[in-house]
Amino acid sequence: MSTAQAVSHFAISCEVNGTTVDRVVAVRQLLADFIREDLGLTGTHLGCEHGVCGACTVVLDGEAVRSCLALAVQADGRSITTIEGLSGDGLTSMQQAFRRAHALQCGFCTPGFIATLSVADPSDYHDEAGVRQLISGNLCRCTGYENIVAAVCEEWGIERS
């Protein structure tokens, strides 16, 4: 749908965790707020609302993106997967690796890390430095990253340097 008239609200239709969602949204509403407040999917967190911390990372059409830097209206016609959708029934093997390695403490950052990792192709990463680079867009204040790096390296069979 195209609009010649500039609007303040917009009817969107998108797929969220495999389910079609139709809503009217205020055009200024952030995607993160739509996910959290309108859809009640509170596993997506807001740590900065200006695109630095990565706590709000979701998967949008197969890419990890910051949901605080997208508008809800931009999700129209797109497919979104949040941490709730990534998790399915049990823990994915990356989530299990996190658990084994004690890669989370308060857990506030964790859904963002999991979302980023969920779409990364392990074959692109050959060493610890590459893994650190990959997750450098997700801040964690609790773990010092040590065990997050350990979990990812273990899961992807990367020997730590």
């Binding site: 010649a4 500039a6 200024r28 949008l60 910051r66 508008l71 450098s136």
Partner: protein, 285 residues
């Protein structure tokens, strides 16, 4: 930290987009990948009346090779998509080298090639890349198209030669071989805007090097004095050192929270030596 009120337009074609820009003029703000604009909205530092969302303008997405040794990016091509393309790596490896330094992977998934260049952050990689390669920026408004050379496109911090109703539609970059390009930057953290960065591009004749520094002034800047020293010269350590100190002398560095002028000069000096050293050793191979 929530965006202020604005109105929203989502054109489906370039024509509609240009019409919208024409109609709303100064009040309109094109929204590309949003990785710079949306934070500014969230801080309420940007207050456009109308946001023109370009994300559905298919004509603006895509990468093509207009000539055997050139590459053209539609303005709305996501940085992450460009980063992944083998065609980009083989035709214009400097792009593939510099893109990973643009923000973080999540930013590049939405951030676009054209958006970054049009935003013209003085510390951003893509404007510097465009300038160093001597690229061409293609702009359009309802009246027609303009082709603008990168030299002269960046007028100041966040300021370009684009007119208010104009959209950047594509960027054309000449392909330069891997051994003829080098790039380095120093930022406080991975993914931050650089305190200083330097790009070097050896021109085909092998006798001249285009040097561009970014993060040090209001725009990415050529380093003509350093380039002059290098002209027709072998990249010997002595020549490199001379060019580096000329470069450090000719930049007019800004001072901010993260670095003062003296630091930026020192960084430019070190970075010029680093990139020229790399170029020298590549050339010798």
């Amino acid at each position: 930290m929530k965006p202020p009120l604005f109105l929203y337009l989502r054109p489906d074609s370039l024509e509609e987009a240009l019409a919208a820009m024409h109609e709303h003029g100064d009040e309109a703000r094109p929204l590309a990948g949003g990785q710079s604009l949306v934070p500014m909205l969230n801080f309420r530092l940007a207050r456009p009346e109308v946001l023109v969302d370009l994300s559905r303008v298919e004509e603006l997405v895509g990468t093509s090779c207009p000539g055997p040794s050139a590459i053209s990016f539609g303005a709305m091509t996501p940085q992450r998509a460009a980063e992944r393309l083998e065609k980009v790596r083989s035709t214009c490896p400097l792009v593939s080298m510099m893109l990973p330094f643009v923000g973080h992977v999540q930013n590049r998934a939405r951030g676009t090639i054209g958006g970054s260049i049009a935003h013209a952050d003085p510390a951003a990689e893509l404007p510097a890349l465009c300038l160093a390669l001597g690229g061409t920026v293609v702009a359009r408004n309802a009246e027609g198209e303009r082709r603008l050379r990168a030299d002269g496109f960046f007028g100041g911090p966040f300021t370009t030669a684009l007119m208010p109703d104009e959209l950047l539609t594509s960027v054309e970059l000449p392909g330069v071989r891997r051994e003829d390009v080098a790039f380095a930057e120093i930022a406080r953290r991975q993914g931050d805007f650089a305190m200083a960065g330097v790009v070097a591009v050896r021109e085909t004749a092998q006798t001249a090097v285009r040097l561009v520094a970014f993060g040090v002034g209001g725009t990415p800047v050529r380093l003509p004095r350093a380039e002059k020293i290098l002209e027709g010269q072998e990249l010997t350590p002595a020549c490199i050192a001379e060019a580096a100190s000329a470069a450090a002398g000719e930049v007019d560095p800004i001072e901010d929270l993260h670095a003062d002028g003296r630091t930026r000069r020192a960084l430019v000096d070190a970075l010029v030596r680093r990139v020229l050293g790399e170029l020298g050793s590549e050339g010798a191979r």
